[in-house]
Amino acid sequence: MVEPQLHRVTLANGLRVVLAPDSERGSSAQGGPPVVGVSVHYDVGFRSEPEGRTGFAHLFEHLMFQGSESLEKLEHFRHVQGSGGIFNGSTHQDYTDYFQVLPSNALERALFLEADRMRAPKITEENLRNQVDVVKEEIRLNVLNRPYGGFPWILLPPVLYSTFANAHNGYGDFTDLEQATVDDCAAFFDTFYAPGNAVLTIAGDIDVDHAIELVQKHFGDVPARPVTARPSFAEPFPSRELRDQHTDPHAPLPAIALGYRLPDPVSELDTYLANVVLAAVLSDGDASRLQQRMVYQDSLVVDVHAGAGLMGAPLDARDPDTFTVTAIHTPEVGSDRVVGAIDEELERIAADGPSADELARVTARWSAGLYREHDRLTSRTLDLGSAELIHGRAELISELPGRVQEITAQDVAAAAKALRPDARAVLEIEPASEENSDGGAV
């Protein structure tokens, strides 16, 4: 397979553009599907939202769909979908992304839509109040009304981290959301949504030169605005084990989450990747260490998962980032036994490292997983954009299989050793009552 050749331009207003045409993805892609992906990543996520405004970055993401100088409310959706396309946006720790995937004859329309809201979004009191209600429903759906809602991404950070930026709830408290004003939105837009703070990615069925012309035509006159330097969110590693408990009114079984600090994903990438391999050795597949030990051999847990990255995927944030291990277990098996088994397995890997077979297995699955993920145009476009934003190198996404292949057993052993019990967070989830286990439907 030939890796896609990337092309880059930076506009005078500072907008960085990455282009990844299909025509250079290898011979079998000739005349590939006539589909194009367009994304814009803004360098602001929920870690950057102001104190007293938890959930603001995500709320603002909703408002970016609510009309602009050239488009009335609802028109953005109608134009994307009425061109045969799909769209969405999402808010992460360090970035907010917006994407469209459409038949390639709609490329110019997609660029127009993204440029128009980068230039002049229409933020009104009516739309703000409406989207506060919608976001509250989103939180009820995904957190408040659901067993294990927000576990662990909302519940674990306040145990592991001490600063507002790293510890607060990125979905937001209802009070904070309700107090958000139109002027807060204006300040947020002018601070963080400058073209120089964004990456535009175009992937799929495109002609590079023509696409660049269209980018110039639509984004060229978005005025440049100053970009504030992003502050460091660094904080010291914990100096002891930090513990907390949370009662979940809907959960039928207890659960536990361990959180550890990861190496800096940007400046210590290979050390970080050793943790990605470690996570796979621990919990990926029936033959993995924790599945074997905790699920099949000792029947300690119903489910166990280890992973690099707070939001469920590695390389999705800058420093500080989190390694998590989560498990759902029965009340008869106390949390100490669950944690004890995880510690023992980590110690074994720290002492002996994974076997050559384990490493080969993880590497092959990792490569295959990436191929598969990036075969989907939506994921390919978004991953190119976030790699360019966070690492300055969209190429990274095709280099990863090779880099992971070079991770050694010693690297993985060192990663396991660095996950120290005396520098981690332990969060226990307790069911509110026994009665919930029958589901409550009468």
Partner: protein
């Protein structure tokens, strides 16, 4: 909030140049059809293979009709699916996972009232291994007593976790409400039944029902279709049975009627689930129905979403979708809403149901839905995994690649009159359903609204 110097929202929302015109669409470029083989092996298995995509992977989807009338069938079938890939005469559970991992592969099995589904993927040059492990499980799964006991115990716990999910509770209640005692309503087995399943019962079920005749295998990827079909025939040559896979008995027609309120303790949000009778994919009216569905609630730019989300803020998401079973199709409408606005959301939903027939979709609504349906086929089948899933889904209705290829033209041919006709499928009287939520808060307003059975 920190107040750096910034413009007001009004200043941000306008430029000197003013509003700009929307660019028109360029000429569409048509893609090329993937090279496909669609054939039936001499053991009765239908095989569909397509060469597609730009990554060196292969995607596998198998569907075996797997219905059963016995009260214990859902429990036995669930345990079978959980243990199918936990060891054969040739491979232990760990060996299966290890062999698959060596080719970047993965296989998993799930079951529902209609069928046993096996999905997987691997690097394209590991296709033989993927097929070998699959064939090994189909012909040689041993259902060892200890593996079975372990999975059975975990299933009991997992069922408890699944049944605590509001969407699962709502689905089960809707199934019972629509289909009563029909096997289709028994999607998740009772924990007690699972606890009674024996290894011998599961082995017997495998012998009777895990059979090739009536089943379908789809492979999509960077592979040569002819070679792949030969390879499949070789790998699965030992998989034989005189029996045919068990199709689910026909479903009764969904009858419109009252919505039933179901109480859930501690709920802060309600699940609104409505259903009416639809059509099969092969019905000549289906393309018009598809466009009417999109206009009603089948995508974001629909009447229902624009009303109850974007205008009123009652919900994060509202949807209208089809559910297909062999020889049947139904319409499902759903939204999750805060307890305080649940009755209002039901009222607005009923209003939109009535309006669809009385004020049918305009030319522009029809055009938008049409383009979305055509574009959606393009984007969803542009990846190997998307095409594999689509072909597997179509195969359950007896359809293949040629149906997919011809469908955009069917959508292009639909007229606004045909959509107006199809809109009557959404008549409020055609619907029934359930609302799961806090009955204490909901029963008053719902009783006042009417058309709701409040216990």
């Amino acid at each position: 909030m920190t107040r750096a110097t910034h413009r007001s929202a009004e200043e941000i929302g306008r430029t000197e140049f003013g509003p700009r015109p929307l660019p028109s669409l360029a000429e569409p470029r048509s893609g090329h059809e993937p090279a496909t083989m669609d054939t039936v092996l001499d053991n009765g298995l239908r095989v569909i293979v397509a060469r597609h995509g730009a990554v060196p992977m292969v995607e596998l989807r198998m569907r075996i009709p797997f219905a059963g009338q016995d009260r214990m069938h859902p429990a036995r079938a669930e345990v079978l699916a959980e243990t199918l890939l936990t060891g054969t005469q040739r491979r232990s559970r760990v060996q299966m996972d290890t062999d698959l991992a060596a080719v970047g592969g993965d296989l998993h099995a799930t079951v529902d009232p209609e069928r046993l589904s096996i999905g997987g993927d691997a690097l394209a040059d590991g296709m033989s291994t993927l097929l070998d492990v699959l064939g090994d499980a189909l012909t040689g799964a041993v259902y060892a007593d200890d593996e079975l006991a372990g999975e059975r115990d975990r299933l009991v716990e997992r069922i408890a976790v699944a049944r605590s999910q509001p969407r699962m509770i709502a689905r089960e209640e809707l199934q019972k409400h629509r289909y009563g005692d029909h096997p289709f309503a028994r999607e998740v087995p009772e924990a007690g039944d699972v606890g009674r399943v024996t290894a011998e019962e599961v082995r017997a079920l495998h012998r009777q029902a895990v059979v090739p005749r009536g089943a379908t295998l789809v492979l999509v990827g960077d592979i040569d279709p002819e070679r792949a079909v030969d390879e499949i025939a070789r790998s699965l040559s030992g998989w034989r049975s005189e029996a045919s896979a068990y199709e689910m008995p026909a479903l009764p027609t969904v009858q419109g009627g009252d919505v039933r309120l179901v109480h859930r303790d501690g709920a802060v949000q309600s699940q609104l689930r409505l259903s009416a009778q639809g059509l099969t994919r092969t019905d000549p009216r289906y393309p018009a129905l598809q466009i009417a569905n999109l206009a009603f609630g089948g995508y974001f730019s629909s009447r229902l979403v624009e009303n109850i989300r974007e205008d009123k803020g009652y919900t994060y998401g509202a949807h209208s979708a089809f559910e297909f079973t062999p020889g049947n199709g139904s319409i499902l409408v759903d939204a999750d809403t805060a307890s305080e606005v649940t009755a209002a959301a039901l009222l607005e939903t009923r209003y939109e149901l009535g309006r669809l027939g009385l004020v049918p979709p305009t030319e522009s609504e029809v055009e938008s839905a049409r383009q979305y349906a055509i574009g959606g086929l393009l984007t969803s089948t542009s990846s190997q995994s998307g095409l594999a899933s689509m072909l597997a889904t179509l195969a359950t209705s007896g359809l293949g690649q040629e149906w997919l290829t011809a469908h955009p033209d069917r959508l292009r041919a639909v007229t606004a009159e045909e959509v107006a006709e199809a809109a009557w499928f959404w008549a409020p009287t055609a619907f029934t359903g359930v609302i799961v939520g806090d009955a204490e808060k909901l029963s008053g307003p719902l009783r006042a609204l009417g058309g709701v059975t409040v216990a």
